[in-house]
Symmetry: C2
Subunit: 353 residues, 2 copies
């Protein structure tokens, strides 16, 4: 047993705030969603599995890692069963600006609820949230955000919530790109996911985002089935009404899968220590530590948002996806910091068309 | 949204008591364990995938179900991605008498702890537990059992716990059969797992037992990898000591995966509604409801312990694995009740040798 260590890390207020919007959790039965055009472009590249990555250290180090862990008889060989790769979602597999996409869902749902119940529009924090005023939104604070999440993500069954998310993803458009949110995924990361899977890796999402929100699209968009999605969640309750069973979503947080919650979630849901982890913020720091500070070959990757033209540029001072401590830690730990602007030929799949 | 229904079912005291021993939860990184002799016998049966099942309704109905859901173009076809099968563990995949095997582990660990700290042997409830007197054990009650679980399943890291369980499974012997506990698995159920997997099903364990306890053996014994094991759990905490990260097991219950907790756990970990569920007690009732009370083809199976000679015979009055309400409900729901004595040619793999 390890003796009492310097820092017992449980999710702190900082993590709760950071994860706040993203834990807007819950509900997710499978099914089909907007079919995306990424699959073909990914599948066709037998020669270069990472065509949207510019030649350079980043691409080389990924390929070198995959080659060594799959080389049977080599000293760094990793058996297929242990090839577990974990990916953060917001900011790692898809964009997260100007605000977590799940929060846009929450706001849209709040508007719907206010239509059905006009009194809501006069009550805080809903009034500020519905105003559309960025200052009012920013002033909501932790308590207000939690109330909005609780209202918009509970009171229905998991099946109903899943339908709501799917319907929203079909119609909602990103304010900057005027495209469905599911098109704002990173082409290089789709290629990386496919490349790892083609080499026997099992790919998981480990995100602060709501697990039931993500499960509504991960299978179609990323090729990651619901049972390989780990995320934040709210409590649910089983009810049986005659012959009709349901899981009702309650307005209570169950688990925040962020910061030190990520290794906890990995252990709880996966039960194996990953050999590959990718993230983009300080919320991924402990997941990167848990993955890479282990014996045997390990790979840690940080997506650094450096492209203000094609995507966004932000890190240490960002209110979303803040990357500060993990960026400082990266060199000593040997984590690959991907420079989005320099390392990625293409960012979104639609650019290539 | 469904309106308030007659019974909002959260785990009650009954469930907590029932799950009590079994939630002796936590910790589990993978690895190899006692290699078992079941694989060959299972693999060799191309003609009859269920050779340890006697001919009859039980075997026929299982085969008919698998054939119809895998028949492409048929009205009952289920796509591979949705072929999720969930299995309870204690009493369904292996025996659970005279007491949950995990509790035997807890008692053995308590003995070890008492060797290192002799004062424990004089303190209740440990004194009663260490006495070996069945009456004293029975009198421990919920509080005493919880204290024993807390003591024996915490204070170490998940990695250390995993090693403890593996080591115990290698040396401990079942009191009646004088064999490792992992040999007391049901040959017909091993065949059923393999048969389902050969037909595109993904098999999961959904058990009141501790997830980290089970993960130490499910891959080798059942062919079920850690990431497909859902169970009860205790809280863990991430700690980083210099360059050494660890997950420390805390003496707090996190989740009881029993009774109405089973559909909750299925939704949380798997995120799909299963098409096949197997259990053996009232703790599986809600899992069977959640699985079978749905559109499309569904299969519910209850293992009824009816063989006092080869295994044990118990149901409505048992203190472990009580089967009462689910047995009453089975006919109306169309759940298959497997009569162990009549339907199973072989019970344990070692019988066949």
């Amino acid at each position: 047993m390890r003796r009492s260590s310097p820092g017992a890390l449980r999710p702190t207020r900082r993590h709760v705030v950071a994860a706040l919007l993203s834990w807007i959790a819950l509900a997710g039965l499978p099914g089909a969603i907007v079919p995306h055009a990424n699959a073909q472009s990914v599948a066709a590249q037998a020669a270069d599995p990472l065509p949207s990555w510019n030649e350079g250290t980043a691409k080389q180090s990924i390929r070198a890692f995959v080659e060594k862990v799959t080389q049977e008889g080599g000293g760094d060989f990793v058996p297929v069963a242990e090839r577990i790769a974990v990916f953060d979602n917001d900011g790692t597999l898809w964009s997260e600006q100007p605000v977590y996409f799940q929060f846009m869902f929450a706001l849209d749902r709040l508007k719907e609820l206010a239509k059905a119940n006009p009194a809501l529009a006069g009550q805080e924090p809903y009034k500020s949230a519905l105003s559309g005023d960025p200052k009012a939104l920013a002033a909501l604070g932790e308590k207000g955000l939690l109330q909005i999440v609780a209202l918009t993500h509970s009171g229905i069954t998991v099946t109903e919530f899943n339908t709501l998310v799917r319907d929203w993803l079909k119609t909602a458009r990103h304010p900057r790109f005027d495209r469905p949110y599911t098109e704002l995924v990173f082409q290089p990361m789709l290629e990386l996911l496919a490349y790892l899977r083609a080499n026997g890796f099992k790919t998981f999402i480990v995100s602060g985002g709501g697990v039931e929100f993500m499960r509504a699209f991960t299978e179609t968009v990323y090729g990651i089935p619901p049972e390989q999605v780990v995320g934040s969640s709210g409590k649910t309750e089983f009810v049986l009404d005659g012959d009709v069973p349901a899981l009702r979503k309650l307005p209570e947080v169950e688990f925040i899968d962020d910061g030190p919650g990520k290794p906890v979630g990995i252990n709880r849901f996966i039960g194996r220590r990953p050999v590959f982890a990718a993230g983009n913020s300080d919320g991924d720091q402990q997941m990167l530590q848990w993955t890479t500070l282990n014996t045997g070959p390990r790979f840690g990757l940080i997506v650094h948002h450096t492209d203000a033209v094609r995507e966004w540029a932000y890190d240490r001072a960002s209110h979303i996806g803040k990357l500060d401590k993990a960026l400082d830690e990266a060199p000593a730990r040997g984590w690959l910091v991907v420079d989005m602007k320099a390392d990625w030929k293409t960012i979104y799949p639609f650019e290539a068309k």
